[in-house]
């Protein structure tokens, strides 16, 4: 694998990040904006912005298509992986196709597409932002909602007998033979941000090197739906979410079996 060159932007914005007079990430403390920034930095550093196509379905992260200055396709909820697969195939591998999805988009409605693309070793990259609930629709239960967590559709807290266990995306992808890279990162402190950026970069590098399907899950805060302040959200991520969803690389191979 190519050596990852660390480059710190200590001030200012990445070139690919669109500067607007107002914030398009509507909730204070939401971490989609951080992911956008990391994406911009990675795409710039890998020098692939000219041939990168992003795909989004339905999630709060859809504003990435305005802020991250690459070509984008927006389609049905849960189907970005199919769209990215088609882009990769009809471009005969020339395009760099990635999806930007939420946990519901990737693991609930879109799980069929995600699993099969992973099994086939589709040369695409999935960036999945996991905030433990459906943020866009007002905080309903998601496949990633923690046991005991209250949401608007699990008002008594997620009960294993009723609602079952959470879905562990990054671990699940790691067992698929077609997957070259699977990792889970968080953004709750500068160290985790740096590590998450490294994961995103490695995932894209796998696609550039034409090795299988790459998947990065990123734990993110949702202050309005968690009913916590931005700071309390970061504490919750550290004390409750990371223990349930461990961070790290679950798979990183240079060639498929």
């Amino acid at each position: 694998m190519r050596e990852v060159v660390e480059r710190k932007l200590v001030r200012g914005y990445p070139k690919l990040f669109l500067r607007l007079p107002i914030s398009l990430v509507p909730c204070s403390g939401c971490q989609h904006g951080v992911v956008f920034r990391l994406l911009c930095e990675v795409i710039e550093e890998l020098d692939i912005e000219g041939r990168t196509v992003g795909v989004f379905g339905a999630s709060c992260g859809n504003v990435a298509s305005v802020l991250v200055q690459v070509d984008w396709i927006g389609g049905p909820h849960g189907r970005p992986v199919d769209i990215a697969t088609a882009i990769k195939r009809v471009s005969w591998g020339e395009a760099i196709a990635f999806t930007y999805q939420g946990d519901g988009d990737s693991l609930a409605i879109g799980i069929e597409s995600t699993i099969h693309a992973a099994a086939r070793g589709e040369r695409i990259t999935v960036i999945m932002v996991n905030n433990g609930n459906y943020g866009t629709t007002g905080g309903q239960m998601a496949p990633t909602t923690l046991i005991g967590q209250k949401t608007t559709t699990s008002p008594r807290g997620r009960d294993v007998k009723q609602e079952g266990y959470p879905f562990y995306g990054a671990e699940y992808m790691a067992v698929m033979k077609g997957v070259s890279y699977s990792a889970r990162g968080a953004l709750n402190n500068p160290g985790n941000c740096e590590r998450t950026k490294k994961y995103i970069k490695r995932a894209f590098q796998k696609q550039i090197d034409d090795i299988g399907f790459s998947y990065v899950e990123i734990l993110s805060a949702c202050p309005p739906d968690w009913h916590l302040s931005p700071l309390e959200c970061q504490k919750r991520i550290e004390n409750e979410v990371i223990p349930a969803f461990p961070l790290g690389e679950f798979k990183n191979v240079d060639q498929l079996e």
Binding site: E49, G50, R51, T52, V53, V55, A58, N62, V63, S65, V66, Q69, V70, D71, W72, I73, G74, G75, P76, R79, D82, I83, A84, T85, A86, I87, R89, V90, S91, A95, I96, E112, S113, H116
Partner: protein, 362 residues
């Protein structure tokens, strides 16, 4: 290139797509259209084109969405339950203004229904099967040759209007083997696809291209949602005004006009010949575009005092379009699937049965 082949209707779909320079096919197995995907899996890879078997019809039509956004000519084909699964993305294709061809080889419904012929998906094909009231052109071939010809027209119209086009056939046309003349058709120039999403480097000014189906979030390039809808409305009106196609057969002196499409049109043509040989003045109007529907010719004939006999292999769907076309002066009769020769799934409406009905009415 002109080549004469002896093939079934489902294979003619492939030959037509090949003549239209289709670049990619995505599909999922479902009877009675399996020969379509099998044809593409055989013929496309060796020609340097993309064939890919999806894991469901939902997946197949979204692969179509992606390939269409990339700017290549792309299609899928399906039947019955698979068609239902595709409706969500049909709506997204219409919203995002992506050109694609979807072939619907009709089988018996509702539910799993049967894997044999029927004409029971007329409404979902012509009335916007998905959400949001979009519109799409529907082309209805009645033979193997016409399947091949209309496939090429479908790709042209999809690109002309940046809109999905449905080719509506049925299991009987799909399984019928006939002589096919494989020939490239010319339709004239098309607008350049300057909107395709292929990465910024493909744009001469490195401008960003976005294809999107959510105007609530970004109405771009329109100032707002209603302006966008007005643009779609204008496009649909233009289709209605310019793309109506039909075949009018011996309608000049007719007192009764048969209205039928697809395989039933072939049945009616034979019944018409029987009737004419006995001096009965019968004609036929066969919609080639089920949407936009040829209501002008129906209206015109109604004013001349003609009555209509709609023959269709469903419980009665096409008949609604005929009723909507008239002003209430003429009688409209329906001969539907209950006129089949057998109650089992392979039952057919025979020409003799149609002829009997004509005699009863005249």
């Amino acid at each position: 290139m002109t080549e004469r082949l002896f093939v079934i209707g489902n294979e003619a779909i492939g030959w037509g797509a090949l003549m239209a320079d289709c670049d990619a096919f995505f599909g999922y197995p479902i009877t009675p259209q399996n020969e379509v995907a099998e044809w593409f899996s055989r013929e496309f890879p060796e020609r340097g084109k993309v064939f890919f078997q999806a894991t469901s019809e939902t997946s197949a039509v979204n692969l179509v969405y992606g390939a269409a956004a990339y700017g290549v000519r792309v299609m899928t084909s399906t039947s019955g339950p698979g068609w239902s699964l595709m409706q969500e993305t049909m709506s997204h294709l219409a919203n995002a203004e992506l050109p694609a061809v979807i072939v619907l080889v009709q089988r018996g419904g509702p539910g799993m229904g049967t894997t044999r012929h029927s004409q029971m998906d007329y409404f979902t094909a012509t009335r916007c099967g998905g959400h949001g009231g979009y519109k799409n052109i529907v082309l209805c071939p009645d033979s193997v040759q016409e399947t091949h010809d209309l496939m090429q027209l479908a790709f042209y119209l999809a690109d002309k209007y940046r809109n999905p086009v449905v080719v509506l056939t049925d299991a009987l046309i799909g399984m019928t083997m006939e002589t096919l003349e494989v020939k490239k058709a010319e339709f004239g120039p098309l607008p350049e696809k300057d909107w395709v999403v292929r990465g910024r480097a493909r744009d001469k000014d490195e401008k960003i291209h976005i294809v999107n189906s959510s105007q609530g979030l970004f109405p771009w390039p329109y100032p707002n949602y209603l302006t966008f809808l007005a643009h779609l409305d204008e496009k649909y009106k233009e289709m209605t005004n310019t793309e109506v196609r039909y075949e009018a057969h011996r309608v000049e002196d007719a007192e009764l006009i048969l209205v039928a499409y697809g395989y039933v049109a072939g049945v009616c043509r034979e019944a018409l010949d029987m009737a004419r040989s006995q001096g009965l003045k019968v004609g036929m109007v066969r919609p080639i575009t089920a949407w936009p529907f040829p209501n002008q010719i129906i209206k015109e004939k109604e004013r001349q005092g003609v009555d209509f006999l709609v023959v269709e292999d469903s419980m009665g769907l096409l008949v609604d379009d005929v009723i909507a076309s008239v002003e209430g002066q003429s009688e409209i009769h329906l001969l539907n699937m209950f006129a089949r020769h057998s109650p089992a799934e392979m039952g057919l409406i025979f020409p003799e049965r149609v002829f009997e009905e004509i005699r009863r009415l005249l």
